[in-house]
């Protein structure tokens, strides 16, 4: 599903953000990217949704090279990728419903179908009762669930999350993790960048550790689960 071949990226000549990354993520996999701040987690995610192009190497998604996609093609790549952020990026003037509906409006869905699908997704997130509220009236956990609803409402093939629980307490972290897992069970490939060790330990999923722009270690779920248990 996702393949990175020898991918390097330098913002400036002497500032390498990623260096010779080789990574393969299978369809339906759930992967955590972790590492200290500045390790390149966010940069790697941004490569995957076309916000950045690599300086060297190839980024393949579904067998298609998206490394240097023309600007006009990037929207079509993003329609199959859901993205969530630590700061949620919800529109403060729009209601919960409208925030989630954007994704389907972009795809050209009719209004009646948007209504049904958004309601269904918000129900899955336990947010159906907040449908008419604006984001300012929601807690951090609720806002992240709305952001997740927006990312998942069109059943994307890939879900990318950048520090999705950075602003949340433990109870909310668990809820968000469960939503990731459910999306993953439905067939969505999930890639979560986080340095939240507790989240990683709870999830029991594959772990990719980055440091200074390089992959320094990869662990299958059994390995690091056992490690933390021990």
């Amino acid at each position: 599903m996702i393949q990175l071949h020898n991918v390097s990226l330098a913002y400036q000549k002497d500032a390498t953000a990623l260096n010779a990354i080789n990574l393969k993520i299978e369809k339906g996999e759930f992967v955590f990217l972790t590492g200290p701040s500045g390790a390149g987690k966010t940069t790697l995610l941004r490569l995957l949704y076309g916000a950045l192009s690599p300086t060297r190497g190839q980024v393949m998604i579904d067998g298609k090279n998206v490394s240097h996609l023309p600007a006009s093609q990037i929207p079509y790549l993003r329609r199959s990728i859901g993205v969530v952020f630590q700061d949620f990026k919800l529109l403060s003037t729009r209601t919960v419903f409208e925030n989630v509906a954007i994704t389907l409006e972009v795809l050209g869905w009719g209004r009646a179908d948007i209504g049904k699908k958004v309601l269904h997704t918000l129900k899955q997130m336990g947010m159906e009762s907040k449908i008419g509220l604006t984001p300012q009236r929601l807690s951090g956990g609720e806002q992240q669930r709305v952001a997740l609803a927006r990312a998942l409402v069109n059943d994307p093939r890939i879900l990318l999350a950048d520090e999705p629980t950075g602003n949340l307490d433990d109870a909310n972290k668990n809820q968000i993790l469960n939503i990731f897992k459910e999306a993953n069970v439905r067939g969505t490939t999930v890639v979560v960048a986080t340095h939240d060790r507790r989240l990683i330990d709870h999830a029991h999923k594959r772990l990719v550790i980055l440091c200074k722009g390089e992959i320094v270690e990869q662990m299958e779920k059994e390995e690091h689960t056992g490690e933390s248990a021990g």
């Binding site: 949704y49 076309g50 916000a51 972009v106 009719g110 927006r150 469960n178 459910e182 439905r186 067939g187």
Partner: protein, 322 residues
Amino acid sequence: MNRWKKKNIPANRPAKRPTLSGEGFGGRFGYFFYRAFVNIRQNVFVNAVTIGTITLALLIVSLFLLVFVNLENASEKWSERVQVTVYFDRELSAQEQATFNKNISSIPGTSRVGYVSRDEALKRFKGRLRGQETLLDGVRPEILPTSFEIALKRDNRDTQGVENYVAALKRVPGIKEVQYGEEWVRRFNTMLNFMRLVGALLGGFLVVAVLFIVSNTIKLTIYARRDELEVMSLVGATRFFIKAPFLIEGIIQGAGGALIAMLLLLALYEGFLHNAGSFLTFNPTTAGLAFLPPEYVGGIILSGIALGFIGSLSSLKRFISV
């Protein structure tokens, strides 16, 4: 209660798009308008600021235009005094009058030709000396010349135009003495050109200032909504899809601002017309002050629309990365 307990989770089905609201610009047109109106409702303050700025800007420009148009009208009336007179020292027969009339009328630039007989000339002379007619006692019409008074078309009333016309007039057989008040024509045209130059300079400065203020206001209002652009881009909206509602908003803001500016201008004009008599020495209702002609009003509304559209377009370019 844990609402996240194990559920029977259905697998993702292939991307389904049940009822499409239409592809391309035509199909989405309704959506773009709907979105633009909803955006205006949801961003009332930002839109009010933009419309207010456009209104004020266009009001200043149209006020200036109103003054300029009325000055032009006044100068047009004064320029009707630019008149060429051909003198004869004898009374012309009816046939001669007709021949001269025909020859003079055929010169390009002639607007009106009128013959002034000796009797008519004396009558006018007396008219000017009203109250002191006795001074002309004993004066006989024969001492006065006869003449043709020629009014010129608008384009021939400047100094060069009058000189060219007089040169052509002198080529008409039988015409020798021509007068046209060279000094007055020269001064009048100098004044007119000066007024136009000052008007163009002031107008130019005003337009540049207005463009600067409006484009920066629109830029700021779009900057305030850059999150919206980012989110739209993240969920896979094409540039056109992101821009279209903003551009429609720009057009609505421009048209709204221009309409309000025109209504305010009309109110100011009517208010001036009906109240200025009490503090000015002339009565504006009888001075022939006119409102802007319809084509100017149309032009200002179109400028407002263009201002909103182009302002939004150039600002969006700056804020939409992919």
